[in-house]
Every structure is written in C-alpha cells, then in structure tokens.
Symmetry: C2
Subunit: 283 residues, 2 copies
C-alpha cells in the first residue's frame, strides 16, 4: 500500500486537523525529494516519536537563485513514494509550485543576521526562500515537531530562530549527519559528481577529520584549526573553498577560541557542484 | 471582575490551547490600546461570533519609523481594561516590547507589492512591522478569527494577503469604519488634534462625501473623482494631502474607471498629525 499523497494544501490541512482533533501528535519531515539515507534517518526518528508522520516533497523554486540548479535538481518521485511507504509515512504532501505560490503570491519570511554569512553570502535570498516555504509547511500541517538534518547547520539555526521569533508552536529537531562509508556526507547533490569529483569530494570530511585531530591534540584557536583544514582542501586540485568557519551553532557568530560548543562548517565547490559539511563540537 | 490579563506569550498560548482542546472557537482583536468606539465595534462583533475572545494591547515599536510618534502614542491601560471587562473580553494580552522582541530577535514577515504604495510610501517598513507582530499574535493565540477595522484599508489588504500566502489558519474579518457624529473617522490619533485642527480634520470625511456625491451623479472616472476630493482638501488651509487613490480593495491596483468595486482612500496631514480615511464602493 502506498501512503496517502496530497498535492493540495487545504486537503493536507483537513487531514492534519482531523488528526489533531483526535489528540494525535503530528511530525513533519520537509524535503526536496530524491530521498537518501539522511532523509530516511529523519523519517525514522519522526516515525518513532510521533503518532502521525507527514513528509513533504517540494523542490522549492524560491530557495534557488536564478544562477542555481533548480531545473537540474534531481527528482524521482516514484522511488521517494516507495521509500515513504516502506518507512511508514502516513501522508506525503507533494504540491506543485503553482499550489505553493499561486498568482499574486508576495509574502516573505526572513531571518536577518543568521541568513547573511556562510551559505547566505554566496546564496543571496536562499534562506528567505527556505523560511517562507517552511513557514507555509508548518502552517499547512500544524506539525508538533519537525525534523531537519544537521548537515544544513545554518538552515537549522535559521529555522530555530524563525520559530522562536514568530512564536510558532512547533519543536525543531536537528538530526545527525549521515555519511557514506568513506565519509562523504549524504546529499542529493552528490549525484552531480563524476567519478573523479566523487573521489575529490572526500576532502570535505577529511578536512573536518583533520580539525577533529587538531582539537584532540589540544589546539583551541579557531584560526589554527581553519588553517589546518584549508591545507587539506588546498591539496585537492578539483576543490575550490567557499568558506571555512568556526562559529557558535545558534548565533553563527565566530568563535575565536574553541570552548564547550562550536560548529565547524565548510562549503567547497568540487567542479561546479557546491557541497557543504560540518562538525559540532560539544564537550 | 476584570478580565484575565497576561503579559506572557507562553501563558497566553497555554490558555488558548486549553480552549482549543475543549473545541471552543477563539477570536482575536489586535489593538495598540487607547480603545475607542472603532475598537469596541470589533470587540462586540468578535464577542458575538466566537466562544472565547482575546484582545491584545501592544504599542508595536516595529511599525513606527524613527521619525514617527511611538513615544507620544496615547496610552491608557486602566481604561482599556475596563472597556474589555464591560465588553466581555475573556483574556487581554498586554505584552511588553521585551516580551515580543527579546534579545536576538531578527525575523520579519513582509508582503511585498501591497506594502509599497499608499501609506507604505510615506511609512517605509510600517507594514513589515505590522505583519510581523500580527503573525506573532496569530501564532500565540491560535485564533480562528481576527477582526480588523476597515479604516486601515491597506493594513487589511496586506494582512489578508499574508494569511493567504502563508497558509495561516485564521479568518480575517474587516469591520466598517466607526465615525464621530460629525463624520470624522474614529482614531486614537485624533487625540493629537487641537480644537482648530479637529474642525479642519472634517475635510477627510467631507472629501469622501464629495466623492460619493460625484459617483451618485454618474461620474465614473477615478481622476475626476480624485480632483473633486482634492478641491475639498485644498480649501482647508490646515490640511496637506499625502495621497488620494481609487484602487481595487484587494490588490490596491489603481482603478481608472469605477465599476462594481473600488476603494477610495486618502491620507492627509492636519498640522503634524497624519490621518487616514476611506470609502468602499460596492455596487
């Protein structure tokens, strides 16, 4: 049996409202589809922790800039629905862009400071597109809990801030990065990589491993850790570093000396594919 | 007995959630306080149409620009609470600015096109401040219906658009303008007027009455109607016209020829006090 699917926001709201009326808790796992083990880890945790589970599959045009890969973004709805069925998703919401952004649409939700640096610097407008669609999805589903991957660490910080600032009644749960056996963080965009690039892409997780080694060896200056990471990336000829940062995971403000809590994050172009990865230091 | 009051968003949410659980419908009347008969008309309609009624009183700093009258804005909480008690309000939410915008607050909700013209032209950022606070109030109260005065016609159009665009589950109800016996639209800002200015302020409702006369006489060109209104305003030496528009009430796009539906709106400075008024044509 395939899970119920809905392309219509009002239909989805009605189904979710009926669940609410029965006192059932509702989880949302918002995705852009082309599901991989990272998404599946979110779905499994959401499945365990809630009575009803909605997954959304929507390649959100408003979070792509004109120069980005909207048209090329990988899609496989049939396979995604099969995964959702196997994982016990109750409802898959698969709207089209005209359903989410009908004629005359003109509202934006934006989180100012957190959206500016890191990925926001090279992807202007990206997080406003993310916040706007996520706000819509929260309102449509009335979710009690929503699950996001820690891989998009800035996205997670931005969404937590939006929820807090706008008094949204949804709990945001960040879930650990899922990796390939060789260390590459799972991402739908990994499908863009050719064999050579796939090998080169290991420099991201290797740079993070290097950072971990340095910190384990007692290094605490963020500049020294960043430099060690940069050396790893510079050694990879197919890699072009976008950023390496050591920041507070909530405020995304630079952390000059690594103490109890830090987020080490990087973005690297491998050929024309932009990949991100990160590591949370909590001690 | 005074109505229950809450300054705390979480407390308000808990009370509202308990009502929801009992299947009770919840109305919100959001105000900046200094309640007048216009507000009271909203409260009375909301009282009739819903099981529970929340009024909020919050002079929202984010909808005032630095040059505007935030500090001078009139306040009288004791009298407001007495009115709420007399009108059967169940809960008055009276947060402080630090409760609504704690340290680190940085999220905005904005409605692009509708916020630009009319009052938005002379009050940049105003409607973003309005949308952000109204979004918060909707989320805090979980209101099923919210009541706004038609006097702020642009605000009403902007909020309806926001609710639709972001799939907020709240019904927006616009209520007719309430006027003084001589025609002046009720407004908290009328308290700024001295005796001479109070007399001069009648030019707004007189200009609208003139527009009504012209239309009744068969005039349909918006330009002709606007010119007749401008003549009324120009005759008042204490008045300085900000704008006169004939627009669609939903899109706020200019309506060159008045047909079945139009909003005739104006903003006029009387001395240093900016007043607005409008008339809906529906036929």
């Amino acid at each position: 049996m395939t899970p119920d699917t809905a392309t219509d926001a009002e239909q989805t709201s009605r189904i979710a409202a009926a669940w609410k009326k029965q006192g059932l808790s509702i989880a949302l796992v918002p995705t852009m589809g082309y599901l991989h083990e990272g998404h599946i880890s979110l779905i499994r945790r959401a499945r365990r922790e809630n009575d009803r589970l909605i997954a959304s599959i929507f390649v959100n045009p408003r979070q792509f800039s004109p120069s980005e890969d909207l048209a090329a973004y990988p899609r496989n709805l049939e396979r995604d629905l099969e995964i959702c069925r196997n994982e016990g998703v109750d409802l898959v919401f698969t709207p089209g862009p005209e359903q989410m952004y009908p004629q005359g649409f003109q509202t934006n939700v934006s989180v100012e400071n957190l959206s500016g640096g890191l990925c926001g610097a090279s992807r202007p407008g990206h997080f406003t597109g993310v916040c706007t669609v996520v706000c819509k999805l929260f309102n449509i589903t009335g979710a009690d809990r929503a699950y996001f991957g820690q891989k998009d660490a800035q996205q997670l910080a931005v969404i937590k801030r939006m929820v807090r600032d706008l008094n949204m009644g949804v709990e945001i749960i960040g879930c650990p990065i899922v990796r390939e056996a060789d260390g590459l963080a799972k991402s739908s965009r990994n499908s863009y990589l050719n064999t050579q690039e796939r090998e080169a892409a290991l420099c991201l997780s290797r740079a993070l491993a290097k950072a971990g080694d340095e910190i384990a060896a007692g290094v605490t200056e963020a500049a020294a850790v960043s430099a060690a990471m940069r050396a790893v990336l510079d050694a990879q000829i197919l890699a072009r570093t976008d950023y390496i940062v050591v920041v507070d995971p909530d405020s995304l403000e630079p952390v000059p000396v690594i103490g109890a809590k830090a987020l080490i994050a990087l973005a690297v172009f491998i050929g024309s594919t932009r990949l991100i990865d990160n590591m949370l230091i909590e001690r």
